[in-house]
């Protein structure tokens, strides 16, 4: 366990503005990479569209848009897709691409609580706005105090919404990263033990052959499956909260 540490996001570079030092962390840097990749992808998918799709590219783009539109239609009813689908699609693709970035050896963007907290607070204010829009401000306050005994708990659960959304995403992604790095450290130790059995003295530069292939199986679960499911759950929960406020 000597070679195993868990760090927060590193500071990639920093610069000074006046007296204030701006630190660009790994999370911020990686999210810039995600933004560039996603923007280029979306610009490419959205260019040169025809009325009737003839290219595979346009079919894929329409499939993605239809997926999000259908999700909004199924949950909130027909006619609201223009209000909600763009924001939800943006959040979905940001979390998805940010967590899939860990497949390429970068630190996953959602394994930083400041990123997930930002998304959760934005979503929280969106939910709040929709509740007030559909019920009126008085109706919203009335809903908070509907069983009068439970008013403090209702107010508490309002503020528990962003915390639980942020912590769910953060815990899943960072937990996967920690378990993956634990597995790597354990496999390095195991291959050193195998080298010791056959009489080779393993120094720091030996090739730990057990690390080949075995972590990929876990990576399918922790990087691919967990990232996709958690980003889907995030937008589904947003939809569920909006739907709750609408009724």
């Amino acid at each position: 366990m000597d070679n195993f540490t868990i760090n927060g996001p590193r500071v990639v570079f920093k610069f000074t503005v006046g007296d204030y030092t701006v630190r660009i962390t790994e999370t911020l840097f990686n999210s810039w990479i995600v933004l560039i990749i996603v923007s280029l992808l979306v610009i490419w998918l959205g260019s040169r569209l025809k009325k009737v799709p003839v290219t595979k590219k346009q079919a894929v783009a329409e499939m993605a848009v239809n997926f999000m539109n259908k999700l909004v239609d199924d949950n909130l009813g027909i006619g609201l897709r223009l209000y909600y689908a763009p924001y939800l699609a943006a959040v979905f693709i940001l979390i998805l691409a940010g967590s899939l970035l860990s497949l390429f050896g970068f630190r996953a963007v959602p394994s930083d609580v400041s990123f997930t907290g930002t998304l959760a607070i934005m979503t929280f204010f969106m939910i709040l706005y929709n509740k007030i829009k559909y019920n009126g401000f008085g109706g919203y306050l009335k809903g908070l105090a509907s069983p009068a005994v439970l008013t403090p708990f209702n107010i508490l659960s309002e503020f528990a919404t962003p915390v639980s959304m942020a912590m769910r995403l953060f815990g899943n992604l960072s937990g996967g990263a920690i378990i993956t790095s634990l597995i790597y450290a354990a496999l390095a130790g195991a291959s050193a033990a195998v080298y010791g059995l056959i009489g080779i003295v393993a120094d720091n530069y030996y090739f730990s052959f057990l690390q080949v292939g075995i972590p990929a199986v876990l990576s399918i679960y922790f990087d691919l499956f967990s990232g996709v499911i958690q980003s889907y759950v995030f937008i589904i929960l947003t939809l569920a909260y909006i739907k709750n406020g609408k009724e």
Partner: protein
């Protein structure tokens, strides 16, 4: 607070041991989501066996339910992480 060197080391050892035990206890929170998710998945499989035509709806609903049920386990996990890696109680020794 003022400690001699040896007393400080002993106090640190006690704090670190307490943090390790606390982290282990916090991860007991994983039992609840484990049981709950297993129950949910079992029920979903029963439903799919009875009505195979709603397989996709049942599966996606089950995943969402599982992710929500996981929340309490994740809270325990985060508390365990903070105890293990952030050492929040060492500062009370007055260093």
């Amino acid at each position: 607070m003022d400690y001699s060197n040896e007393a400080l080391l002993n106090a640190q050892a006690i704090v670190l041991a307490g943090q390790a035990i606390g982290a282990g206890l916090a991860l007991i929170a994983g039992i609840g989501p484990g049981i709950g998710e297993g129950y949910a998945v079992g029920k979903a499989i029963e439903t799919i066996g009875r009505q195979p035509e709603i397989k996709s709806t049942a599966t996606s609903t089950m995943f969402i339910g599982c992710a929500i049920a996981e929340t309490t386990g994740i809270y325990g996990f985060i508390v365990g992480l903070i105890l293990l890696f952030a050492n929040p109680f060492l500062k009370y020794l007055g260093q």
